[in-house]
C-alpha cells in the first residue's frame, strides 16, 4: 500500500517545487500618517460611492515617494477621485478596477465622458481596460482626441479584441518614433486591422475607413 502512497506524494511534491521562487519583488511603501490624514475624507467619500479606493491610495503613495507637498498630493488624489466618479457612471453598470484606472487616464488625456459611454455600448460586456489604455496612448501621442475616440469606438463596433488594439497601438507608436505623423499613422495602420476583424470594414483608397456598422434608425 505504501507504494501507492509514495506515488501520489511524489506527484504532489513534484509540482509544488520552487514555490518561493515565484514571489514578486518590491514592497509597497506604507502611507505616512500625515498623508493618510489628508486624503482620509476623499477616501471615505470614494468608499461610500463604491469606488476602488486602492487607486487613490496608489496615487497618494506616488506623491509621497516623489516627495511632493501634501497639498499637491491632496489635489491629485481629489482630481483622480472626480475622474473615477465620472468614469464609474459612464462605464456602468459594473466597471472593473482596471477599466476605471484606464478610463481615469483617458479622461486626464482629454477623452470626453461621452466617448466612454459609447465605448461601453460598443464593447458590450467585454473589458475596456485595453481599448481605453490604447486610446489614451493614441491621444497623448498626438492623434486628435475626436479622431482617436471615433476610431476606437468603431473598432469595438466591429468586434476588435485586446490583441487588435495592442497591435494597432504598437504599429502607431513605432511609426511615431520613426517620425511619421500620429494621425497619418493611425489611418494607415487601421487599414491593416479592420480586415482581420469579425465584422470587417472596407478601406477606401483615400485613407479613410468605410464603416460597415449598420446605422441605427433615428
Amino acid at each position: 500500500m505504501r507504494v501507492a502512497r509514495c506515488a501520489v506524494l511524489l506527484a504532489a511534491t513534484a509540482v509544488v517545487a520552487w514555490p518561493g521562487q515565484g514571489k514578486a519583488q518590491g514592497t509597497s511603501v506604507p502611507l505616512d500618517s500625515a498623508t493618510a490624514a489628508v486624503i482620509a475624507p476623499i477616501i471615505d467619500q470614494a468608499r461610500a460611492a463604491r469606488l476602488p479606493v486602492d487607486l487613490l491610495y496608489v496615487k497618494a503613495r506616488e506623491g509621497q515617494v516623489r516627495r511632493v507637498p501634501l497639498t499637491a498630493i491632496e489635489s491629485a488624489v481629489r482630481a483622480l477621485a472626480q475622474r473615477l466618479y465620472a468614469a464609474n457612471e459612464a462605464l456602468a453598470p459594473n466597471p472593473s478596477e482596471q477599466e476605471l484606472r484606464a478610463a481615469a487616464d483617458a479622461m486626464k488625456a482629454g477623452v470626453p465622458v461621452e466617448t466612454l459611454r459609447a465605448m461601453r455600448k460598443a464593447g458590450k460586456d467585454g473589458s475596456l481596460a485595453v481599448p481605453l489604455g490604447v486610446l489614451t496612448e493614441l491621444v497623448v501621442s498626438g492623434v486628435p482626441v475626436e479622431k482617436a475616440s471615433m476610431q476606437v469606438v468603431d473598432l469595438l463596433n466591429h468586434g476588435a479584441v485586446p490583441k487588435n488594439f495592442i497591435a494597432l497601438n504598437e504599429r502607431v507608436q513605432q511609426d511615431v518614433l520613426a517620425g511619421r505623423r500620429p494621425e497619418e499613422s493611425l489611418d494607415l495602420r487601421l487599414k491593416g486591422i479592420f480586415p482581420t476583424l469579425p465584422q470587417p470594414a472596407q478601406a477606401t483608397g483615400d485613407g479613410f475607413i468605410q464603416s460597415t456598422t449598420p446605422k441605427r434608425p433615428r
Binding site: 509514495c6 509540482v15 518590491g26 481605453l132 489604455g133
Partner: protein
C-alpha cells in the same frame, strides 16, 4: 475554517500586492520501484494552485493515483504563509497540512507550523527557520519538529538552492499478535537532509534537478546520496510533456517509504509558459536615456525590459510596484524584471544610476498631476 480566515485577512492586507500565479493539471503514467517490493505501474493525475505576493504565499495541490492492482490513493497538500518585510529581512510565518488516504486504509495526516527569517539580496537570499506540529499515522499521533537553513542564487530563469533540514519525529511499527492484540511501537528518529537543487528554463524547456543526502543520528534512516531529474517541454504556451526520473527518500512526516520512480505526464497550465512573444524591438536610445518594453510572458508574469546604455544600475517604479523602487537585473545589455501586471494601462518611471526618476524615452507620457510625467504602457 481558520485557514480560510487567515487567507482572507492576508489577501485584504495585500490588495495592491504583486501576485504571481501557477495553476497546472498533470495527467499521465508512472513506474515505481521499491527495494522490497515488485515494480508496479499506474496512472496519475495531479493539480496545483499557487498564488504568491510579496507578503502572502498560498499553495494547494492534490493528486490521485491508481496502480495496476486496482488500489487507489489520494493526497492533498495545503500551505499558507504571511511575510513581513523589514528592510532587507523578511519574517515569514505559516503552516502546512497534508492528508493522505488509500482505498482500504485510514488517512494519514500531518499539520506543521513554521517560522522563517529571510535575508534577501538582488540575486540571492538566505533563510533560517524552525517548525513543529503533529503527525497522525496508523491511529497514533505524535509530535514532530523541524529546523532549516538554506540559501539560493538566481540569474534570470536559472536558480540554485542549497538547504539543510533537520527533522525530529517518530516511526510507528504495528505488531499484531496471534490473539489479535495490536501493539504499536514508536521509534524516535532524528536526521538531517542536505539538498542541492537547481532550476533552469531555456525557451520551451524547463529542467529541475536535485541531489540529496541524509544523515541520521537516531533511528535507521541514513541514506546514500541520491538524486532526481525532471524535464518539461512546452509544446504550446499552455500544454507541456513532462517527465521525471529519480529516487525519493522516505518521509516519516507523511508515512511514505523510499522509492524509485519514473513518470511521464501531459501538463496543462492556466498561465503562459515558454518563450515570450516578441512584441516589438526595444528601441535604441543614447547614453543617459532609457527605453522600455513590457512583454507578457511565462507563468502569468510580464517581462519588463529596459535598455539604458552606459548605466551601472537601473531602478523602476510605478503603480505596479506600489511606487516602491525596484532594482532591475542586468542581462547582457538589457535590464529586466518579471512582474504580475493586470490587463490595462500602467504608469512607470525609471532611474539610472540613482539619478532622477524619468519616463522611458520610447513611451507615451502622461501628466501625473504631481508635477511630473510618467510613461504609459498597456498590457493585453
Amino acid at each position: 475554517m481558520s485557514f480560510a480566515v487567515f487567507a482572507g485577512l492576508a489577501c485584504a492586507e495585500t490588495a495592491n500586492a504583486q501576485w504571481a500565479r501557477q495553476t497546472t493539471f498533470d495527467v499521465g503514467a508512472m513506474r515505481l520501484t521499491r527495494d522490497d517490493f515488485a515494480d508496479t505501474g499506474g496512472i496519475t493525475a495531479a493539480a496545483l494552485w499557487g498564488r504568491w505576493s510579496d507578503r502572502v504565499s498560498l499553495i494547494g495541490s492534490g493528486a490521485v493515483t491508481r496502480i495496476a492492482d486496482g488500489r487507489a490513493t489520494g493526497v492533498g497538500l495545503g500551505s499558507a504563509s504571511y511575510s513581513v518585510p523589514i528592510r532587507h529581512a523578511r519574517i515569514e510565518a505559516g503552516g502546512t497540512g497534508t492528508i493522505l488516504g488509500t482505498s482500504n486504509q485510514g488517512p494519514t495526516s500531518s499539520w506543521l507550523g513554521f517560522a522563517r527569517v529571510h535575508w534577501l539580496g538582488n540575486r540571492w537570499g538566505t533563510w533560517i527557520g524552525a517548525g513543529g506540529g503533529d503527525v497522525h499515522v496508523s491511529a497514533t499521533t505524535f509530535g514532530a519538529g523541524t529546523g532549516e537553513l538554506g540559501t539560493w542564487l538566481r540569474r534570470g530563469d536559472q536558480r540554485l538552492t542549497l538547504n539543510a533540514t533537520t527533522v525530529r519525529t517518530s516511526l510507528v511499527s504495528t505488531v499484531i499478535f496471534s490473539d489479535e492484540t495490536v501493539l504499536r511501537v514508536r521509534e524516535p528518529v532524528q536526521y538531517a537532509d542536505v539538498a542541492l537543487s537547481g532550476h533552469g528554463a531555456w525557451r520551451r524547456f524547463e529542467v529541475d534537478a536535485a541531489a540529496i543526502t541524509r544523515h541520521a543520528w537516531k533511528g535507521e534512516l541514513a541514506s546514500t546520496p541520491t538524486g532526481a531529474l525532471s524535464v518539461a517541454w512546452w509544446a504550446t504556451p499552455y500544454v507541456a510533456v513532462a517527465g521525471a526520473l529519480g529516487r525519493q527518500l522516505s518521509d516519516p512526516l507523511r508515512g511514505t517509504a523510499r522509492t524509485r520512480y519514473a513518470t511521464v505526464v501531459l501538463r496543462f497550465s492556466a498561465e503562459r509558459h515558454g518563450p515570450a512573444p516578441v512584441v516589438r524591438p526595444l528601441p535604441a536610445v543614447p547614453a543617459g536615456e532609457a527605453s522600455l518594453i513590457a512583454v507578457p510572458g511565462g507563468g502569468g508574469r510580464t517581462l519588463v525590459q529596459v535598455r539604458a546604455p552606459g548605466a551601472a544600475r537601473v531602478d523602476l517604479m510605478g503603480d505596479v510596484t506600489g511606487w516602491a523602487p525596484l532594482a532591475l537585473e542586468r542581462r547582457g545589455d538589457l535590464w529586466e524584471v518579471r512582474l504580475t501586471m493586470a490587463s490595462g494601462s500602467h504608469h512607470v518611471v525609471v532611474r539610472l544610476d540613482g539619478g532622477a526618476w524619468v519616463a522611458p524615452a520610447n513611451l507615451a507620457r502622461i501628466d501625473d498631476e504631481l508635477g511630473g510625467r510618467v510613461g504609459l504602457i498597456v498590457i493585453p
